[in-house]
């Protein structure tokens, strides 16, 4: 229904057959909006997030646009690709083959050391109370937690009088970890132990 209305809207109100030029222009603009969203987010976006940028409620329409854009990217043979992840999430990213060639240009860390420490603690101990994080990390952790929440890496939920912290799907996506917290924690511990063993072997 909504699609229909939208299509009607796209057509000139004066002409029922519709000047295809303006329709095409509108689609071009919508594709560019999807591209803009994926580009600046730099992370997988859900269909609803893209819908909100397009100011539409039609998930079908949005899905169609993302697929069109994704095909366009594929046909251009560019360094970038638009992938569909599970749960109808989409990401614009550099094709893996190109990473080694341009890695040296990447200089900015995601976070400075302080907030990164706080993040790593939350990741390993989640779900963990804010109070506990502050106990272990010190009072400056309040600022870190605020930043981590603003960046969408950590989410908090109130439980009685305390806030319980956990990492977000964005965090998992960024580090390539499982969205399932118990699996994620196991993955983290495994890497941690392997690193430790490697380090000891190196030192021994």
């Amino acid at each position: 229904m909504e699609d229909l209305t939208l299509q009607e809207m796209e057509n000139s109100p004066h002409d029922s057959s519709g000047p295809s030029q303006s329709r095409q222009e509108k689609t071009t603009n919508e594709l560019a909006l999807v591209e803009a969203a994926l580009y600046v987010a730099g992370r997988p976006l859900t269909l609803s997030e893209i819908c909100s940028v397009l100011k539409t409620r039609s998930k079908n329409k949005t899905k169609r646009l993302v697929k069109m854009l994704s095909q366009e990217y594929a046909s251009r043979n560019t360094a970038l690709e638009i992938l569909e992840l599970k749960d109808e999430r989409y990401v614009l990213q550099l094709k893996a083959d190109f990473t080694p060639h341009v890695r040296k240009l990447v200089k900015r860390p995601l976070l400075s050391v302080g907030p990164l420490k706080t993040l790593s603690y939350i990741a390993l101990r989640q779900p963990v109370s804010q109070k506990r994080v502050v106990e272990v990390r010190g009072r400056h952790a309040y600022g870190h937690i605020k930043l981590l929440k603003e960046m969408g890496l950590v989410a908090s939920e109130r439980k009685g009088r305390s806030a319980i912290l956990r990492t977000t799907d964005y965090f998992a996506d960024y580090f390539g970890l499982s969205h399932d917290i118990s699996i994620m924690k196991k993955e983290l511990k495994r890497i941690l132990e392997r690193d430790k063993a490697l380090k000891e072997a190196d030192e021994g």
């Binding site: 730099g42 990447v106 990164l116 790593s120 390993l124 109370s129 305390s162 580090f175």
Partner: protein, 232 residues
């Protein structure tokens, strides 16, 4: 002169302020000492023996109103003073920085490298206990000097109910004045409160004669008024 003498004490200053709302509006709430008014009101009531629960209710309601007026005033006073007017100058719109995607260099390895440090810090604190239920302070901390009588209200209610059952045997009904005959004023007030509790639980029924102001008590759901016996 004679008319003034008949007026209940609380319609005289200073207590009249609690019963004449139109006067309240003309006064500054700060000039009203609620604690003083209520204490003297109760003292006076005890002294004159004019125990009037409706008057007490109105007095309580008015005090709450005055308290509310004070709080509102307080909130008004707490509003921050308006900020100093900024100097007039052309204020350009915000300059939005161009948005550029930038890959960040932090990897999972970095995340785990710093974790080692953090865990050392954690060892200094004992492990987090399972989120325990908040420990409530004992009632004596929260409610200083609470009347032991009130703590045992259920017990008292049962006691009163038992003696009422005894008293209404035969007649099925008893007057409040009979019930409190010969007992101290404070005890009378407590008895009345217990009656209200019992009535709320529908263990007794209460009915007041509008002319004599006498309160009639029946035990159980037996509604005398509806039976026509005491219909005014």
């Amino acid at each position: 002169m004679a008319a003034t003498a008949k007026k209940p004490f609380y319609l005289r200053p200073p207590w009249n302020i609690l019963f004449e709302f139109h006067k309240l509006e003309k006064l500054t709430p700060w000039n009203i000492n609620i604690a003083y008014l209520l204490t003297t009101f109760l003292e006076e009531m005890e002294k004159t023996g004019q125990i009037d629960f409706r008057a007490s209710g109105v007095a309580l309601d008015s005090s709450a109103l005055i308290y509310l007026m004070k709080s509102k005033l307080l909130l008004k006073l707490e509003e921050p003073p308006p900020p100093p007017k900024p100097l007039q100058d052309f204020l350009p719109p915000p300059l939005f920085l161009p948005l550029r995607h930038e890959l960040t260099s932090t990897t999972i390895r970095h995340l785990l490298e710093v974790l080692d440090d953090v865990l050392k810090g954690e060892a200094l604190h004992r492990t987090e206990k399972a989120p325990a239920e908040p420990i409530l302070p004992t009632p004596s901390e929260v409610l200083p000097q609470i009347d032991y009588y009130l703590m045992e209200i259920e017990l008292q209610m049962d006691r009163l109910y038992k003696s009422l059952t005894e008293m209404v045997k035969g007649a099925g009904i008893i007057q409040f004045s009979t019930l409190i005959k010969g007992i101290a004023r404070l005890e009378a007030i407590r008895t009345f409160i217990l009656l209200l509790f019992l009535a709320q639980e529908e263990r007794v029924s209460l009915w007041q004669d509008e002319e004599t102001e006498e309160i009639y008590i029946t035990v159980g759901g037996f509604d005398t008024a509806r039976n026509g016996k005491l219909t005014p």
